[in-house]
Amino acid sequence: MNNIMTIIKKELARFFGDRRLVFTTVIMPGLLIYLMYTLMGEGMMKQLTTADDYVAKAYAVNMPEDVKMMASSLRMEWEDWDGNPADKERVLKEIEEGEKDLLVYFPENFTADVEAYNMENKAPNVELYYNSEKSNSETAYQMMQSFLKGYEETMVNKYDVNAGMGEGVFGKYDMASDAGIIGKMLSGLLPMLIMTFIFSGCSGVAPESIAGEKERGTIATLLVTPVKRSALALGKVISLSIIALLAGVSSFLGTILSLPKMMGDEVDLNVVSYSISDYLLLLVVIISTVLVIVSIISIVSASAKSVKEATTMMAPFMIGVMLISILPMLGADIGGKAAYAIPLFNSVKAMAAIFGFKTDLVMALVSVGVNLVATGLLVTVLTKMFDNENVMFGK
């Protein structure tokens, strides 16, 4: 017990004594993720949205009076144009360059043609000229298009389905709560992010700490002391878990803090309110997950001859962990309850449930139990490896 503590203390002293290591494994991932997602989010917003109070500038040719009346509710400033081909170039250039946003061209006898329309003759065509590269123009185009669809419906209207602002006599048509929708999104995304962060946190330190000690011959100095190999294995796994957890928390904070910026207006994170017990359960699940991942990476590192080899050997495991963590994104409850018997996959499922507001306390605790048993087995394997001269000193 004492020896485990001594080894943990040394590992942590080694890690925290090295400012560069702390910066690259703990601080940088969170910071990078925050900056990257924030920039990405802002970039996307700039592309997709126009300022809310923008009034689009549009030309109208032959616009019927009743359409004009109804269109006055749109955020558009209309300018009539007679459609004289002599001015065509000027008008189109204005739209191309973004001075004007839209040209709406009605055929000359639009109203009469519409009334005369039956299956035999061609329907009159309203033409909209715009520039999809300019977000203001694109927005004006979308706005006008849906306006004209609506106008068409009023002309032949017999009945509506779910008319109005998404609410009927009994309240909202779509019963999904805002929180439910966001929960669904987060339960697909966050488990994967968390698993990835934990893994990269571990793979930043474990190869140094185990393969590195082998490579430099410092592990031999530990092995001639009377310290039990199991104490050595546990000490390594626990200290590496602490470091990996810190790296994971940093990345997680970076993600959570940048999420509102990345998702823009669609996500009102205020509706995402998990309870304290949800957070606690999440933490316990995460800790058990970290232990399993660190144990796996430690075993991989112990079997490698050098840090470089360890890092290379890590790749397939990284891909494996990524694969099982994107499964919840596919939506279906893969594997049902039996799947909770699979280490790591059970963490992904348990986390997805918590983020989706469907916390299943029993299954989450089962996952933690399974992961702890798996950690125990893996640490036993690691102990055996520390006791095996071919693994420790093999060339």
């Binding site: 004594g17 100095t221 009377p226």
Partner: protein, 259 residues
């Protein structure tokens, strides 16, 4: 005389990789490094393993320190078997060989405390011991310099001191003076004699005759993994310098050296 260590038929083979076969210029897949080695060392004595390069000295000492397991045979060290009680053996010995490295990142001061902790030495005792050993080997001035920044000789002295944090009764040193200048080498040999005077038992391996002549009570000559002779220094030398006797024994057992 009380027996300290009984080595009984120790054998160790290594499976050579293709690369190692090339390096050693051999077609054999298996290298017999130690071939049925037996000897006895006594309490309070200095026992020297003498042999040419590749004789199997380091391999033998690594088995005694339980870093590697013998293919056959056993050694009983102060009542503990290296095969069945490796942890007990490790707690009794201080082992030094060039293979054991210290982490560059930490200072000698930190290393001493860390290893004292692992051996379960009480902090007050460890502090006192650290002061004495650091002064004796001139480490005190470098106590706060990271090991990575120390000279090779100073690193070796720190390794030596670290192997003694628990004041073991049995000291096993592999080539303790290799790579040290004459002054530092003298500090180490004098220190070994001091240990002996304090009743410690010492086992050293070396190919340096003068070191054996200076400190050893009993010598075992190892050639090609086998114990060729093992007796008191006087009995082996029989009035001649050790070096001359070594060549005589070598030619008698192996054949002419220039052949």
């Amino acid at each position: 005389m009380e027996e300290l260590l009984q080595v009984k038929g120790l054998r160790k083979t290594f499976t050579l990789s293709a690369k190692q076969q090339k390096l050693e210029n051999t077609k054999e897949k298996v290298k017999v490094a130690v071939d049925g080695l037996s000897f006895t060392a006594y309490k309070g004595e200095v026992f020297g393993l003498l042999g040419p390069n590749g004789a199997g000295k380091t391999t033998t000492l690594r088995m005694l320190a339980t870093l590697i397991k013998p293919d056959a045979g056993d050694a009983i060290l102060d009542g503990a078997s290296v095969v069945s009680q490796p942890e007990l053996v490790r707690s009794k010995i201080g082992f030094l060989t060039s293979e054991l490295k210290l982490e560059d990142f930490f200072t000698p001061n930190y290393q001493f405390d860390f290893f004292s902790g692992l051996y379960g030495v009480k902090p007050e005792v460890a502090a006192q011991r650290k002061k004495e050993l650091f002064e004796r080997f001139g480490i005190d001035k470098f106590a706060e310099v990271k090991v990575g920044n120390l000279s090779t000789g100073m690193k070796q002295k720190v390794s030596l001191v670290v192997s003694l944090v628990h004041d073991p009764d049995v000291v096993i040193f592999d080539e303790p003076t290799n790579g040290l200048d004459v002054l530092t080498a003298k500090v180490v040999t004098d220190f070994l004699l001091d240990l002996k005077a304090r009743g410690k038992s010492i086992i050293v391996s070396t190919h340096i005759f003068s070191l054996i002549e200076k400190i050893c009570d009993r010598v075992g000559i190892v050639i090609a993994g086998k114990m060729v002779t093992c007796d008191t220094l006087e009995a082996i030398c029989a009035g001649k310098p050790l070096e001359d006797r070594f060549f005589e024994i070598y030619e008698e057992k192996v054949g002419r050296i220039d052949e």
